[in-house]
C-alpha cells in the first residue's frame, strides 16, 4: 500500500507539470502575450518612471526572456529543490531546501501564497459542507426510488432530478439572491459575503437578554418540533396531508402578506395554494425519514418564530448563527446539481444489484427485505458512488467559481475569475496548480477508499 501511495504521488508530478504547461502555453500564445509593456499599460506615468517600472517587472518576472525560459524559471521558483534566486534576478547556487515560492501577483502586488492562504479555506469550507450533504440526501432519495421501482415516487423523482440537474447554477443563484435576499421580495438571507462585520466582536453562540428568555425559546422550539415530528411519524396519511396543507397555506399567506401588506389578493391565494399543495404532497410521502426531516425543519423555524412573538429578546445573534445564515443559499446553489446526479446514480446502481443473484439468494434463504437492501445490496452499490466522489470535487470547484461570483464570497473561485480577467499570470498558474493538485488528491483519496471498502481490490 505504501509503495502504491508513493508511486501515485510521484505520478502526480508529470500530470501537474502538464497542467501548468497547458495553461502557460495558452497565456504565452495569446495575441500580445504578457509583457512588461502590457502590465504598465493604462498607468499614467512619466516616460522615465514607466521605463523603470518595465525594467523592474522584467527583472522580477523575467518577462523579456523567451517563453520556454520563463516557464523553466517559474518551475524553478515553485519547486522546493532548485537554484536559489538572488535579489537581482540571477540564479544562485543549487539548493535542496530553498522552499517553494509561488511568486507575486501582478495585480495585488502581494505574494500569491498569502492570497491563496486567505482564499483557499473559504472554498474548502463550502465544498466540505456540501459533500456530506450531497451524499446524505442523494442516498436517501436514491434508495427510496429504487425501492419502489416504477412507482409514483420513482417516476416523479426521476423527472424532478433530471430537471434539477439541468438547472444552471447561475440561474439558481440569481433567483435565490433575487427572491430571498433582495429588498424587493423576501429579505430572509444576506445578499453576499460570509459574515456580517459586527459579528466579529460578538460571542460564538447567540446571547439572550436573560435566562428565562433562553428557557422560553428552547421550550418553544422543542415543543413545536416534537409535536410536528410526532405527527409526521404516527398520524394517518389523510391527517398528515391536511396538516401539511394548512402549514403550507399559512406560510404562503404570510409570504404574500410580507410582500404586499394587503390582507387578501390574488397573490395571497396563489402562494398559499401552491405552497399548501407542495407541503401536503411532501407530508403524504411514504418514507418516514423525509417526513421527519421536513417536520424538524418546519418545527425549528416555527418554534423560533413563536418565541419571537412571545417576546424573547436576542441581544446578539452570535458568530455561529450568522455564519450559518450566510452559508444557506450558497450551499444550496452549490450542491443541488451534484445531488441530482448522485441520486440518479444511486438508484441505478441499487437496481442493478437488487436484481443480482446474491440478492435473490439472500431473499431465498429468508432474509427480510430491509436486511437484503442495507446489508447486502447497499454495500455493493456504494462502490460506484465512491468512484464518482473523485469527479465530484472538480465539479464542485468549478461550481464554486460561479457561486462565489454570484454571492460575492471571497474564495478561490472568485480569485480565479479576477486573475484571468486581469491577466495575472502568477495567480492564474498558481490557482490552476492548486486546483489541479486538489483534484488529483481527490482521485487518490477515492482510489484508497475504494481499496478499503472493496476487499477484492488491492494495490499491492
Amino acid at each position: 500500500m505504501l509503495n502504491y501511495l508513493i508511486r501515485r504521488t510521484l505520478l502526480m508530478i508529470p500530470t501537474l507539470l502538464g497542467i501548468t504547461l497547458v495553461v502557460f502555453i495558452v497565456m504565452a500564445a495569446a495575441p500580445g502575450g504578457i509583457t512588461a509593456q502590457s502590465l504598465v499599460d493604462g498607468m499614467e506615468l512619466e516616460p522615465e518612471s514607466r521605463r523603470a517600472l518595465e525594467d523592474y517587472y522584467n527583472k522580477l518576472y523575467g518577462l523579456d526572456q523567451p517563453a520556454p525560459v520563463q516557464y523553466l524559471r517559474w518551475l524553478n521558483n515553485i519547486s522546493p529543490i532548485g537554484f536559489e534566486r538572488e535579489p537581482d534576478g540571477t540564479l544562485g547556487t543549487f539548493s535542496l531546501w530553498k522552499g517553494a515560492d509561488l511568486g507575486t501577483s501582478f495585480r495585488y502586488g502581494r505574494p500569491v501564497m498569502d492570497l491563496l492562504a486567505e482564499r483557499l479555506p473559504i472554498t474548502l469550507l463550502l465544498n466540505l459542507i456540501s459533500i456530506p450533504l450531497i451524499y446524505a440526501i442523494a442516498i436517501s432519495i436514491g434508495v427510496q426510488a429504487a425501492r419502489q421501482r416504477g412507482g409514483r415516487f420513482d417516476v416523479a423523482s426521476n423527472i424532478f432530478l433530471l430537471g434539477l440537474w439541468s438547472v444552471p447554477s447561475m440561474l439558481a443563484g440569481v433567483l435565490f439572491i433575487g427572491f430571498f435576499a433582495s429588498e424587493q421580495y423576501w429579505r430572509w438571507f444576506p445578499t453576499g459575503g460570509l459574515m456580517q462585520r459586527e459579528t466579529v466582536d460578538q460571542t460564538f453562540l447567540p446571547l439572550f437578554a436573560n435566562g428565562s428568555d433562553l428557557l422560553i425559546a428552547v421550550a418553544c422550539v422543542v415543543t413545536v418540533t416534537v409535536l410536528l415530528i410526532g405527527a409526521a411519524t404516527s398520524a394517518p396519511k389523510i391527517a398528515r396531508q391536511c396538516g401539511g396543507f394548512t402549514i403550507g397555506a399559512l406560510l404562503g399567506y404570510t409570504m404574500a402578506w410580507d410582500l404586499g401588506g394587503h390582507w387578501l389578493g390574488g397573490l395571497h391565494v396563489l402562494l398559499a395554494a401552491s405552497l399548501g399543495l407542495l407541503t401536503s404532497l411532501l407530508a403524504g410521502m411514504q418514507h418516514p425519514g423525509f417526513r421527519i426531516a421536513l417536520a424538524g425543519a418546519i418545527g425549528l423555524g416555527g418554534g423560533l418564530t413563536l418565541s419571537r412573538y412571545l417576546g424573547v429578546e436576542v441581544m446578539q445573534g452570535g458568530y455561529l448563527l450568522d455564519r450559518l445564515w450566510h452559508l444557506v443559499l450558497p450551499i444550496i446553489a452549490l450542491s443541488y446539481g451534484g445531488l441530482a446526479f448522485l441520486a440518479k446514480l444511486t438508484r441505478s446502481s441499487l437496481l442493478e444489484n437488487l436484481a443480482a443473484d446474491y440478492a435473490r439468494t439472500a431473499r431465498a434463504k429468508g432474509v427480510d427485505e430491509e436486511t437484503v437492501l442495507w446489508r447486502h445490496v447497499f454495500r455493493n452499490s456504494f462502490l460506484p458512488l465512491i468512484t464518482v466522489s473523485a469527479t465530484l470535487l472538480p465539479s464542485l470547484l468549478a461550481g464554486s467559481v460561479i457561486v462565489e461570483s454570484i454571492f460575492s464570497i471571497d474564495g478561490m473561485g472568485k480569485l480565479a475569475v479576477e486573475a484571468v480577467q486581469t491577466r495575472d499570470r502568477e495567480l492564474v498558474l498558481s490557482v490552476t496548480l492548486i486546483s489541479g493538485l486538489l483534484t488529483l488528491f481527490g482521485y487518490l483519496l477515492a482510489d484508497i477508499a475504494y481499496a478499503i471498502v472493496d476487499p477484492r481490490v488491492s494495490y499491492d
Binding site: V26, M27, G178, S182, V420, T432
Partner: protein
C-alpha cells in the same frame, strides 16, 4: 394461405439498427418533449430576422415600395435560411449516414461561401429611421415583424430607455419581456441568441467529438505506449477544472463566437476519448478487425469505416449530454462577463438580472428559463437515447 402469412410474419425483414433506435427513441415521451423544444428552437433561430427586427418587412414611402428587412439580411441569415431546408432534404435522401453527413457539410460550406461573397448588407444600420418616418407621417404602408425591435436596437430615439419591466411601458412601445440595461428588447435579444446557443452546442461538441474520437481511437487501437501517453493527456485535461481552463482560454484569446466554439471543443474532448478508447480496446481483438488488418487496409479505413460504427452507441449518448454542457459552458462564460461583447447571449442577459442594485426578475426568468429548457431537452434526449441503445432495457420491456 395461413401458412404463408405465418411464414412472412416470421421472416419479417429485420430493420437496420439505426431505424430500431430511432423508432424506440420516438416512442418515448421524454424524447418527444426534448426533440420538440429543440425543433422549435431551430425554427426560431432560422427565422429570427423575420420574428424580431426593427426593419419593416414591407415599406411604402412616397409611392416607393421596398423591403428593408431583406436588404439588411446578413450572410449568416442566408446561410441559416438555406441551410435548414437543405439539411432536411439531405436527411430524407436514401443515402448512407456518412454520405449524408458529408454532403450536408459540403452543402453548408458552399452556401456559406456564396453567401459571404454575394450578400453585403449596409454596414451602417440606423434603426431609428423607420420610426422617424412613421412619426412624420411619410409612410403609406408598413408591415413590421411580430417583435418590431432588433437585438441591437437600443431605442436611442426614445430618451427614457433603460431597464424596463415587461408590458410596463409607454403607449408607443410594448416589450413583452421587458428591456435590458441598454434599453434593447429582451424578447428580441433572446430570439437572436438562440442561434448562438444552438451553434455553440453543435459545433463545439462536433470539434470535441472529432478530437476525442481520433485520440481515443488511436489509443484504443494501438494500446501500449500510445495508450499510456494518451491517458496522461486525458488525465491532464480532466484534472484542470474545465471552467478554469475555459476562463483562461477566453480571457487570453479574445471573444469571438467562433473562438469560443473552438475553445469549448478543445476543453471537452477528454470524455469522448475515454469512451472511444474503451470501445476500441474491446473491438481490436475481434475477428472482423483482424480480417481488415489482414487485408492490408489503410489505418483510417480500419479505424473509421470498420471499428467506429460498431462503437457508436455510447458515443451518441455522450454527445447528447455533451451538447447540453457546451451550451451551459457558453452561458456560464457569458454570465461571468467573459462572453461576447455586443452580440446577444442568454447568459449575458442573465448576468444583468442582479448587476444593478435591484433585482430584475424578467432578466432572470426568461433567459434563465431558456437555458434551463434547452439543457433539460438535451439531457432528456440523452437519457432516452441511453435507454434506446441499451439492449437490457429493451429486453426487460419485452419480457
Amino acid at each position: 394461405m395461413t401458412e404463408l402469412s405465418a411464414d412472412t410474419d416470421m421472416k419479417q425483414p429485420s430493420q437496420p439498427w439505426t431505424t430500431q433506435v430511432a423508432v424506440s427513441l420516438l416512442g418515448r415521451t421524454s424524447a418527444r418533449i426534448g426533440l420538440s423544444w429543440i425543433g422549435l428552437l431551430v425554427i426560431i433561430a432560422t427565422f429570427s430576422p423575420f420574428l424580431a427586427s426593427s426593419h419593416p418587412l414591407y415599406l411604402v414611402v412616397d409611392g416607393q415600395a421596398s423591403s428593408p428587412l431583406l436588404q439588411h439580411m446578413t450572410a449568416l441569415d442566408w446561410v441559416w435560411l438555406t441551410g435548414l431546408p437543405m439539411i432536411l432534404v439531405i436527411a430524407l435522401l436514401p443515402l448512407p449516414l456518412w454520405k449524408k453527413f458529408l454532403s450536408a457539410m459540403v452543402g453548408l460550406g458552399l452556401t456559406a461561401m456564396i453567401a459571404y461573397t454575394v450578400v453585403s448588407p449596409p454596414a451602417l444600420v440606423i434603426y431609428e429611421q423607420y420610426r422617424e418616418l412613421e412619426s412624420t407621417g411619410k409612410v403609406e404602408t408598413i408591415i413590421l415583424a411580430p417583435i418590431p425591435y432588433s437585438a441591437k436596437d437600443y431605442l436611442r430615439d426614445y430618451a427614457d430607455t433603460g431597464i424596463e419591466s415587461p408590458l410596463l411601458t409607454s403607449e408607443q412601445r410594448t416589450h413583452w419581456m421587458g428591456t435590458d440595461e441598454n434599453g434593447a428588447d429582451v424578447a428580441s435579444r433572446m430570439i437572436h441568441a438562440s442561434r448562438i446557443a444552438l451553434g455553440i452546442g453543435f459545433i463545439a461538441t462536433g470539434i470535441a467529438l472529432v478530437i476525442g474520437t481520433i485520440i481515443g481511437g488511436l489509443m484504443g487501437y494501438f494500446s501500449g505506449i500510445v495508450d499510456i501517453i494518451g491517458m496522461r493527456l486525458v488525465e491532464i485535461f480532466e484534472a484542470i477544472p474545465t471552467l478554469f481552463l475555459l476562463l483562461s482560454f477566453v480571457a487570453f484569446f479574445g471573444r469571438s463566437i467562433y473562438m469560443m466554439m473552438v475553445i469549448i471543443g478543445i476543453t471537452a474532448w477528454s470524455g469522448y476519448a475515454r469512451y472511444v478508447r474503451a470501445e476500441f480496446l474491446k473491438l481490436r481483438q475481434q475477428d472482423f478487425v483482424q480480417a481488415a488488418v489482414a487485408c492490408g487496409l489503410p489505418l483510417r479505413s480500419i479505424l473509421f469505416r470498420h471499428m467506429l460504427p460498431n462503437g457508436l452507441a455510447p458515443l451518441l449518448v455522450a454527445t447528447s449530454f455533451g451538447v447540453a454542457s457546451a451550451i451551459l459552458a457558453e452561458a456560464t462564460l457569458s454570465f461571468l462577463g467573459l462572453g461576447l461583447i455586443d452580440d446577444p447571449s442568454w447568459g449575458q442577459l442573465l448576468n444583468q438580472a442582479v448587476q444593478s442594485s435591484t433585482f430584475n426578475w424578467w432578466l432572470a426568468v426568461f433567459p434563465g428559463g431558456a437555458i434551463f429548457l434547452t439543457v433539460f431537452s438535451y439531457n432528456l434526449l440523452g437519457e432516452s437515447l441511453r435507454d434506446a441503445v441499451d439492449p437490457h432495457t429493451n429486453r426487460s420491456k419485452r419480457a
